[in-house]
């Protein structure tokens, strides 16, 4: 722990007020989302507690609001604050899992391509090139669409969350694979790898315990920057109505539902989840930017 506080990383962290603020905001968002069942003032999924009398309550500061519903209520009398906290939970869950999935896939394939070279390399990088021709949100949409069409409706509703994670994760692996392949090509010819080869270690264990630790630091940066992207991608898919199932509304789903009430004047149903989404993504992106600059020795 002391080593951490003495490190360059911590030093550059304390030097940047924007970073500290965004770390604080990100922490609040994550804590609020993870601890939603404990912290949220209401349970938006407890149908028994919903009162239609409470529907469309404006936020508390507008004069007609109710102090029990600080950010107002939606069309079914659900507390917006609680719905946002539960929604952020789903958004973060999908975001984290998608990033872990694409990182794992990208790192493994990148290592294989870089270390083995030859035909493996050519085939994998060709696939990555083809996929990079298309914007990743389009790839995610297509994967989601194909899976949706391939599975019967009942099955799909049950595993919709995994489908979204898979779709977003698969749309993003080439970035990781390319970075890891690049660093692996450099590491492969260094002496320690040659030494490991000479003493007869298998390629698999060289890749795992010698090359992998040395190519991980750029991966961390990309993963952080990708978290913001993955959260946005999930929100976009859910907004388009092809994301997470309506029984587990994420922030994107809440925005889509609220969009229907924009014209009748109930702006808070869509704007507050939107603000929550932006704050979350912005703080994560700022953290990622800082991490990239702090780990890049050229910029010091």
């Amino acid at each position: 722990m002391k080593a951490f506080f003495d490190s360059d990383l911590w030093w550059s962290f304390t030097r940047s007020p924007v970073t500290m603020l965004s770390a604080l905001v990100a922490f609040i968002c994550i804590a609020g989302a993870v601890l939603a069942p404990v912290l949220a003032p209401h349970n938006p999924f407890d149908l028994a507690s919903l009162q239609l009398m409470d529907a469309f309550k404006p936020p508390v500061w507008s004069g007609e609001g109710d102090a029990t519903y600080p950010l107002g209520t939606d069309d079914q009398g659900r507390d917006m604050l609680s719905a946002i906290m539960y929604g952020a939970r789903v958004s973060l869950l999908v975001g984290f899992c998608a990033v872990i999935f694409s990182t794992t896939l990208g790192v493994v394939l990148g290592l294989l391509a870089g270390y083995l070279g030859g035909r493996t390399d050519a085939v994998l990088m060709r696939i990555a090139d083809i996929q990079l021709t298309f914007p990743s949100i389009l790839v995610a949409l297509l994967v989601d669409g194909v899976v949706r069409a391939a599975l019967p409706r009942e099955v799909h509703d049950q595993i919709a969350l995994f489908v979204v994670i898979f779709a977003i994760g698969i749309s993003n692996w080439p970035q990781f694979a390319r970075t890891v392949r690049g660093s692996t090509l450099v590491e492969r010819n260094k002496e320690y790898v040659q030494a490991a080869r000479v003493i007869g270690l298998s390629p698999l264990s060289i890749m795992r315990s010698h090359v992998l630790p040395n190519v991980m630091s750029p991966v961390l940066v990309i993963a952080t920057l990708n978290l913001g992207f993955a959260i946005l991608a999930e929100a976009t898919l859910s907004f388009l109505g092809v994301g997470v199932p309506p029984t587990q509304p994420s922030l994107g789903t809440l925005i889509r539902i609220g969009n229907d009430f924009l014209f009748s004047g109930e702006w808070w149903i869509t704007i507050f989840p939107g603000v929550a989404l932006i704050v979350m993504v912005l703080s994560v992106n700022l953290l990622g930017d800082w991490l990239r600059d702090a780990l890049n020795p050229k910029l010091r």
């Binding site: 060709r126 083809i130 021709t133 298309f134 914007p135 949100i137 389009l138 949409l141 297509l142 989601d144 669409g145 194909v146 949706r148 069409a149 391939a150 913001g228 946005l232 929100a235 976009t236 907004f239 388009l240 109505g241 092809v242 925005i255 969009n259 924009l262 014209f263 004047g265 702006w267 869509t270 704007i271 939107g274 989404l277 932006i278 993504v281 912005l282 992106n285």
Partner: protein, 326 residues
């Protein structure tokens, strides 16, 4: 030059083949087209007849070749959802999307380049700082939220602009345009801004960093030393040399615009191809999805090809061996 074009075409070919194979696999293995087309009541003879008619009893490779042949002629069969030829549906929706994408690209270039030049020249002025903050927000805001915010402000609160649809359209042959009517133009403003905003911030940041790099070079110092007026230095020498990467990125981003048009069209209920596609995904309408996939792939591949060729034409260094390649 000739060998360059040929090698690029040869690189584009596998992409198209892979994409058409995925489309075909979707047709062949996802869902059961026979069951969908027959509906509830059918006899075994009817089923057999349909299977023969669709060519589903032929070997895999023959089916794929038939699919490819049909696809090249723009023949993708009937939409499961609307029971109309897919080619007709897409042709009907294409003008709306293309007009929207074009306007968004024009807005992004016309606003993004001057903003980038300004922020590159006057790095520390408060207006530059404002532009940069604005661009950070533009990158972090998802497209659909920008659209919703614009609708809230300009349609709901101010009531100035319509929030959905294309307004009145004029038919010019098979092309329907909203650019010639007042209501069509008004309906175009908000979607075009929504779609163009992300590209705008991207172009602005790109022009800014390129300008800052170019301004540091010796020939700019020399131009200043010769006593040339600022305007000639900034626009004649500096901006001109930043345009090559800007053209490349802007061209490549045209594809991204078409992809993000899906989101914008959903927000504004814009009757384009993107809306058609998203409705098809929701309804598992495979023929439309496959056709859209093929078409988007063709668009992307040709854009990449054109950008490569443009790059080759604009940057003389590339003609003497491909030394500096990016």
């Amino acid at each position: 030059m000739f060998s360059f074009i040929v090698s690029r075409l040869l690189q584009a070919l596998p992409v198209m083949l892979v994409v058409s194979f995925i489309s075909f696999a979707m047709f062949a293995y996802v869902g059961d087209p026979v069951a969908i087309m027959l509906g509830q009541d059918f006899t075994e003879a009817q089923r057999q007849a349909l299977v023969r008619e669709l060519g589903l009893d032929k070997p895999f490779f023959v089916q794929f070749m038939t699919f490819l042949g049909n696809a090249i002629q723009g023949e993708f069969g009937l939409s499961y959802r609307l029971s109309r030829p897919v080619a007709e549906l897409i042709a009907e929706r294409a003008p709306a999307t293309l007009e929207l994408a074009l306007c968004a690209a024009v807005i992004a270039m016309a606003v993004g380049v001057p903003m980038g030049v300004y922020t590159g020249l006057y790095r520390n002025s408060w207006l530059s700082r404002f532009f940069l903050t604005f661009s950070l927000i533009g990158v972090s805001l998802p497209t659909f939220l920008i659209g919703i915010l614009l609708i809230l402000v300009f349609s709901v609160w101010l009531g100035w602009l319509p929030s959905f649809g294309r307004g009145d359209v004029v038919r010019l042959g098979w092309w329907s345009t909203g650019l010639l009517t007042w209501s069509g133009l008004k309906a175009l403003i908000l979607p075009a801004i929504t779609l163009g905003l992300f590209q705008l911030t991207l172009i602005m940041r790109l022009v800014r960093s390129e300008m800052m790099e170019v301004l540091r070079t010796d020939y700019i110092k020399f131009a200043r030393a010769r006593g040339l007026p600022n305007r000639a230095v900034h626009f004649g020498h500096a901006l001109k040399n930043t345009l090559v990467p800007v053209i490349t990125i802007a061209g490549l981003q045209l594809g991204a615009i078409i992809a993000f048009a899906i989101v914008t069209e959903t927000v504004f209920q814009w009757p384009g191809m993107g809306l058609l596609f998203i409705q098809s995904v929701g309804a598992a309408d495979i023929p439309v999805m496959a056709a859209y996939l093929m078409m988007i792939a063709a668009v992307f591949v040709s854009i990449n090809l054109i950008v490569d060729l443009l790059y080759y034409a604009v940057d003389p260094r590339l003609r003497i061996g491909r030394g500096r390649g990016h």
